[in-house]
């Protein structure tokens, strides 16, 4: 049932088609629906780090929870599909055990909370044993050799296996988590703000480590952070999320040199840089409330280029150049309204 699809060089490891996932809650009798993930389509290929940028209320955390089938009610998948190359069908159509069987062998995770991700009362080696022993499938002595060599390859001293998490620094704990996430050489790794909690100096070396281990394993990675400077130093391709939607996607260089969506342009333009003290323009208004999003393009209330159509219609993610897609009417006339259920709802 988990026989992987034929692996051609170009077929994507992850393909997400029109995914919609909403928080559906009932507060004292009134139904509230928060459209955290609203009609997102994206693909991640082999040996590629796909960066996902967006602010705190952009829904990027809900998105990665949904594609990892880690979403718990009230976050429910409402539409669309999530297909991995190592699964013969949508991950949400598999039962809990089938998904668990895939975890860590094919799909692993690096989380932000470097402080408390490892079990505080047991030694590091127990985490390696719990997460990887089943998937490595070797007798114990051989298993510990594999773990030791893996750690050495990541410039980590195998003696940390005997340590407790609270005995390690934040940076060291994050390196251990990266080693843990890559021990089974999974095809797909999800990294959720892995360096946000780290100091600047440690952050740079941890990013280097992620980069090296990904390239050496040729695996695919979805790298999520709000920090554009981090994306500039790690992502191959970059997707920008705003209010639950993908507004622009392109190779990292294109995003930084020729941003087409006004929000992306603002994010890059407002980044302070040493050596440039020119006045940085600020963006008006504040991120929309996802439970009552503005109609049409959700960025229009804050957008300097907002026109009449932007208030009514939802711009579809349209390809303007090879690999460069954008969802903004002002970006180019070629962009049409998305024929999604959204527009019919807006009309209602």
């Amino acid at each position: 049932m988990t026989v992987p699809m034929p692996q051609t060089e170009t077929s994507p490891v992850l393909s997400v088609e029109r995914l919609r996932a909403y928080y559906q809650m009932k507060y004292f009798g009134i139904d509230r629906e928060v459209r955290a993930v609203d009609d997102i389509t994206l693909h991640v290929n082999r040996n590629e780090i796909y960066g996902l940028a967006g602010e705190s209320s952009s829904g990027k955390t809900s998105f990665i929870k949904t594609i990892a089938a880690a979403n718990r009610p009230p976050l429910n998948v409402v539409g669309g599909s999530v297909k991995f190359s190592f699964l013969d069908r949508d991950i949400h159509h598999l039962d809990r055990d089938a998904v668990a069987a895939v975890r860590w062998k094919h799909l692993s995770y690096i989380m932000q909370g470097s402080m408390s991700v490892l079990n505080p009362v047991r030694r590091i080696k127990h985490s390696f044993f719990d997460f990887a022993f089943v998937h490595i499938g070797r007798p114990r002595p051989e298993f510990w050799d594999i773990v030791a060599t893996h750690l050495k390859r990541l410039h980590l001293d195998p003696s940390i296996l005997e340590a407790y998490p609270h005995e390690l620094s934040g940076g060291m704990r994050q390196r251990v988590t990266i080693a843990l996430a890559t021990i089974c050489r999974p095809e797909f790794i999800i990294a959720d703000e892995p360096t946000t909690a780290l100091d600047v100096v440690v952050q740079k070396s941890v990013l280097g480590m992620i980069r090296n281990v990904q390239r050496e394993m040729q695996s695919s990675m979805l790298f999520v952070t709000h920090d554009m400077a981090v994306h500039a130093n790690i992502a191959d391709r970059l997707g920008i999320m705003y209010a639950g939607r993908l507004v622009e996607e392109a190779p990292t260089r294109a995003i930084f040199t020729t941003p087409r969506h006004p929000y992306t342009a603002h994010l890059i333009e407002s980044l302070p840089r040493i050596g440039d003290s020119g006045l940085k323009k600020a963006l008006g208004g504040s991120p929309p409330n996802l439970s009552a999003p503005p109609p049409g393009c959700r960025f229009h209330p804050r957008c300097p280029l907002a026109g009449e159509i932007c208030r009514r219609e939802v711009p579809a993610l349209t390809s303007l150049a090879p690999g460069h897609r954008v969802a903004c009417f002002a970006a180019s006339p070629a962009v049409t309204a998305a024929a999604s259920v959204e527009s019919t709802e807006a009309a209602r």
């Binding site: 860590w104 989380m111 408390s116 079990n119 407790y164 609270h166």
Partner: protein, 334 residues
Amino acid sequence: MRSYALYVAKRLVQFVLVVFIGISLTFFITHLTPIDPVEQMIASMTAFGDTSPEAILRMREALRELYGVEGNLVDQYVTYWGRILTLDFGPSLSAFPTPVATLIARALPWTIGLLFTCTMLAWLLGNVLGGLAGYYRKSRTLKLLGVAAMGFHPIPYYIIAFVLLIVFGYIWPVLPISGGSAQNVSQAFSVEYAGSVLRHAILPALSIILVSIGGWFMGMRALVSNIISEDYVVYAELGGVPRKRILSFYVMRNALMPQITGLAMSLGAIFNGAIIVEQVFSYPGLGRLLIGAVYSADYSLVLGVTAISIIAVSASVFLIDILYPVFDPRVQLR
């Protein structure tokens, strides 16, 4: 290991402090009361017979010397501690001349046995069931167990014991409702004697377990429902670690530590329960000894049992405290 020795030293200081304050309390209570215990003793002893005046005089001398009521308060306090530390509470008045210490020595194993087994049973069962109820939120049986735990927990030990006495005493008399073992069985270490001891212990044990299990159940369930959302549990689930393994090694293992401190803190209350339950089922432990002593106005026995209770409970709390670092690797650093 140096910091472990430091930790034990600190807990030892706390243990000594508890015993010091506890025993001092008993001293102040007995010595600051308006009535003179010796006079009261003599009054109750001579209430019936026509004992001659000199006999009364001699008895008063003996009793005054016995209770160290000579000299001012400070001297009395010092002699009082002298007697406590040597466990010499003088002879028991109601069971003259057997010393109080032997009476207590005879009763203590029964109380400690009952208390230890019930507390361990209730603690383990309560924690396991509470942990399951906290982790598998949807299961109906665990929800029902929760309601039962909530129902029994607030009711005091006496009422539960009393109801059990009535149920098994009058309505469905299948279990022995009084005594530590059948009268006709010899006290030797025979299987028959052990069997009878067990049968007699069922109702007292049940009363203690029914009340205390609810506390552990609800405590563990609340702890677990918080721990489920901790990063290391979510990460283990994302790591495909089997749920049973997560429940035992990640969730319950971390919830264990607050429950150990909880055990240490509630031991005093459970001890109270054990004493009361003993009285209801006339179980031959400290409780029955204490209350019997009050009815027979046996001053030194009451004092002795109270002092020993304080020392016994604080000693067991000290033991639990020392075990704590074994479960929590982080405590060594403190």
